[in-house]
Symmetry: C2
Subunit: 341 residues, 2 copies
Amino acid sequence: MKKRRVKLEDIARKLNISIATVSRALDKNPRVKPSTREKVFKTAEAMGYMPNQIAKSLSSGKTNIIGVIIPRYDEPFFIEVCRGIDHYAREHNYKILISSSRNSFEFERENLISYERGIVDGIILSPTHETETFTHIRSIIGKGIPVVLFDNIKEEVSGADHVLIEDDKASYEAVEHLIKTGRKRIAFVGGIKEKKVFQDRFKGYLDAMQANQIEVLDELILHCKSLDREFEDTEINEFLSNLPEFPDAIFTCTDNYGLLTMKTLLKMGYRIPDDVAVIGFGDLGLGEVFVPSMTCIAQPSFEMGQKVAELLIQQFNEPVDKNHRKKVVKLKTELVLRDST
Amino acid sequence: MKKRRVKLEDIARKLNISIATVSRALDKNPRVKPSTREKVFKTAEAMGYMPNQIAKSLSSGKTNIIGVIIPRYDEPFFIEVCRGIDHYAREHNYKILISSSRNSFEFERENLISYERGIVDGIILSPTHETETFTHIRSIIGKGIPVVLFDNIKEEVSGADHVLIEDDKASYEAVEHLIKTGRKRIAFVGGIKEKKVFQDRFKGYLDAMQANQIEVLDELILHCKSLDREFEDTEINEFLSNLPEFPDAIFTCTDNYGLLTMKTLLKMGYRIPDDVAVIGFGDLGLGEVFVPSMTCIAQPSFEMGQKVAELLIQQFNEPVDKNHRKKVVKLKTELVLRDST
DNA sequence: CTGTTAGCGCGTTCAT
DNA sequence: ATGAACGCGCTAACAG
């Protein structure tokens, strides 16, 4: 005894008018007599009418859904970006379908393909570290589906908008701050080398060191290989435990690296910032709570989400022109000084 | 010059067979001759055919999308649940459409209604603290849409599955642990009173105190009112600063309360756990990093997500029977002992 | 094994 | 101002 949904036809029959009129009435089309519109609205309400979004989408070719592909859920940065996307999207009557590529290129491709089946009007994607080739994205764009990329963009994809921060510049600034406050032996803790953002952050570190004529020591550099929280902890622990001579500052490439570093340092008996200064990257809330609070490069994550959504929705309203050069937006970061430096 | 998508008809025409056959062939329907199936697959591939999910959905009445409504994004618990949902859902060929009710009953209702438009096959929802009436949920269920509720369920909704933890029992256990380790003046830091989970956690605290004949002092109790990280900090700060006599333990109702409490204590010069012990609730990763690491009630968030998804997908396969009593699943929590107690 | 036909629910001409 | 009819792309029931 499942109730069949009320549809336009039901309303039409009840009122002895055509489906088309009902449709127009509900659409507030001015060409329908006010009195009938009234009637339609009332009976629709009374009968509990609810438009069928799927049918609408099939007919209109629009789903009002934005597909979002992030490398992983358990990184506050991506969630914050999603929150930004959601905020902007909802204001413009779009919903978001999120999926994680779980740091795997294959998953990224699969997700993209599943979105290609017409369930989303456009796609927002942040490439994984494994993503070396971009043909899967170009293929989607080739089919006329709007795409916006953000963070970790290894290769510019024509036809897609890009939103990012200047990772190298931000790192440069942070390292320079360490140098200016008298630090000389500055260690670097980064992520897997395959990830563009980590390459850039490393570059910023190197540039700042070089610009200030400070020798870069390999022994002070760690590129974490793991993608898992637990192992990050182990890697950092080992790195710090095996240093021949101790650094007086450590620049780290994520908030989590920074916190794990501080934790390990405190456990080893070092004082922060007296013995060692620490800087994190991201500023997603935790750095402020830790004792001592952590100096961070603040990345505008929420804003990035908003911007990304804005660009995508803008594309929806542009004439289809695949040769149109798309935008590259660079957002500003900020060095937030706290107790760890 | 936008390319039209290839559809079944195109393949059919090219092969001089009917649309139905093409459809069946791609469906691997055994009733189609292997040789034609081969041909169909090859030309489909060659022509770059991609099924239209919307059309499929309209025709089949299934979208393979699960709607998820959480009170907010910026709480790791909900994200972890979503991750669990995503994992289970994907294995069963479902995608998830997430939306946040932003701690507002109105938003919750709106989201629910938008899902009612047929874009999702079922709904997973965690009610906000504002949600006092459940008619909006019952209405959805009445229309035959499967619903599963999790966390913070103030009122049992017949026809919906429920997944939760025993908040009171978990709190009881945590407070009892404090008592057994010799703590006597035990403070309580909870969240807004309107939220069922906080009510239950408070109840567990009261029960444990009473069972051990320890007097409950109003001055040692804080129910945070704010829903915003910043203000939580302020509230806890003020609470701790104005205590007439200091507690020797503080039981807090979220990880974040626990961390903020520890931060404030350390800043005030107290030693943890020597002067004061602290316990958090959730165990979503941060407690392990803090120095000292935080003892927590571990809530199985990821598992909760998986369970919730499992129940929903199970409902999809059940015969429609609105009077069928639905399941209530209670997941186990665990007290994880660390350095803060 | 394959083709024909009739929906799925709504938007949208094209008439009237 | 309103109605009839077709299309969106695919599935499924019924024939043969």
